[in-house]
Amino acid sequence: MLDTIIAGLKLKNPLILASGILDEVGSTMSEIAVQAGALVTKSVGKEAREGYGNPAVVPLEHGILNAVGLANPGIENYAEEIKEAKKGGAPVIGSVFSSDFEGFGYLAGKMEEYGADAVELNLSCPHVKGYGMEMGSRPEDVKRSVESAVSSVKIPVFAKFTPNTHNISSLAMAAYESNASGVVAINTLKGMAINADAGMPVLANKVGGYSGPAIKPIGLRLVYEIATMFKIEKVKIPIIGVGGITTGTDAIEYMMAGASAVQVGSAFYYRGKDTMELIAGEIENFLKESGYSSVREVIGVALS
């Protein structure tokens, strides 16, 4: 009832662990893999990065703020984590980021070599200067990044977008035209927290990325916008929805907006260890109560 296929990857349910969440270490990921349809690794770059100092993650009243700063051990040190992560049995999608277009090809190649089942290009990390944001907000850049990766690997390539843009449809079109196997929306929104008593920003990096329940209406809208455009243009690649999904209903809403699968991140703060299992159970209940026989039936039903 929950199983589905995304760009050839077989998922036992449509729930994918979002990049940057509990994926520092392969062993943690393989634990989650038991409950999830697939896993995305943290975004890995050419060199190791310590990222920003603490506070790097702060829970706010309605969401989570983070400026982890693409902390990662560097692609050369990542083979083992992929191997470990795969032990859980779910497909592993290697996320990569780069400050130059060719970097995406190189990093994607490495991920394939390590055994990743697909690659996700993080075109959108908002809080590292020169990377992310600037890179991913112009269709030309999306095109060159995706082309670099697609020409380097045989496994599917997904492009993940920033929501800090006014033209997500053109980004999605650019990814499609460059032969991406799917698109992922959304990454975090640029945000910040200021503490009035201390009179200063809370995050060490001052500005960070905003995720969690608060951003769901924004992610839903962006997925809906891409899906509407794909429908009109008869584009058939899948959309993976992400942003604030905390319950089974949230996941269903994203799928009704046009997502073929969803990613879950900040929800692990609100619902703990068994987040994936809880959400999967809720999806199943919803489907049964509403008379659907497969989760695939809900995809795009809210599109006009």
Binding site: G20, L22, S27, G53, H62, V68, A198
Partner: protein, 262 residues
């Protein structure tokens, strides 16, 4: 669903110098905290760090060992200054049985002192082994003296038993039967002590440390074996510790690379 526990600021109400390297900082925070749980403590503009709650009444406390920039900044704070806190986070110690042994190495007594008090309140029989490098480094000696059966060990013999607190504890364990051993201290100490407790087949609850960024089970930086120290720990049982290949071997730094233990 877990309710959000947002970031809050508190005013420091008291600063107590425990010794040349350790200070206790007190503040009002009207939430329930269990022994073994920790706060994420923000020094505005400097750092945010995990710190065990060393006092869990209305006036909470943390007991800080000065080791780097963040803890140094905490040591420089005065009564009336502001710190940010979030939490308490983590799974606390669970009190089980009638007769228990508590083993603390250095400032790690921070999390065990409120546990000892709680155990005594519950009418349990507590033997407490408190160790430090030398007598000047002992923390909470007075606080514990009046509460539990306290035994001191110093590496240099300047007070109490001359040697490691874990050796002293081994002696007690040979003599008496303990329902549970609670321990906290440097990982090397815990690693060696774990061999002892496993050989003797006793149940344990050890409090562990890993590098923490979020404290709330999101970032994965505190992973150890299949667990997260911030969410599944910091207190772990022997069954859990057995599943941690890296226990006593390595930690990870802020980039996620493996590094040695401190």
């Amino acid at each position: 669903m877990r309710s959000p526990e947002p970031f809050r600021t508190v005013k420091i109400t008291q600063v107590v110098e425990e010794n040349s390297l350790v200070k206790t900082i007190r503040f009002q925070d009207d939430v329930d905290v269990e022994p073994g749980q920790f706060y994420m403590v923000w020094v505005p503009g400097v750092d945010e760090m995990p710190m065990s709650a060393s006092y869990i009444g209305k006036e909470k406390g943390i007991t800080v060992h000065r080791i780097g920039e963040g803890t140094e900044a905490l040591h420089n704070m005065k009564v009336g200054d502001i710190i940010g806190i979030r939490g308490p986070y983590g799974r606390p110690y669970s009190l089980e049985g009638k007769k228990v042994l508590m083993v603390a190495g250095g400032t790690a007594v921070a999390s065990l002192a409120p546990l000892a008090e709680k155990a005594v309140d519950k009418g349990m029989d507590v033997v407490f082994a408190l160790g430090a490098r030398d007598r000047g480094k002992l923390v909470f000696q007075k606080r514990l003296e009046n509460t539990v059966e306290l035994h001191i060990a110093t590496d240099d013999g300047s007070e109490g038993y001359h040697g490691f607190v874990t050796e002293l504890s081994r002696e007690f364990m040979k003599k008496g039967n303990f329902d549970m051993i609670y321990a906290c201290g440097p990982e090397i100490m815990l690693y060696n002590f774990f061999k002892t407790t496993q050989e003797m087949g006793v149940r344990v609850q050890f409090s562990l440390e890993r590098y923490m960024k979020c404290g709330i089970g999101l970032c994965g930086s505190c992973a150890i074996g299949p667990y997260l120290v911030c969410r599944d720990g910091p207190v772990f049982t022997e069954k859990e510790i057995e599943k941690m290949p890296e226990f006593g071997r390595y930690m990870r730094d802020a980039a996620g690379r493996k590094t040695g233990l401190k």
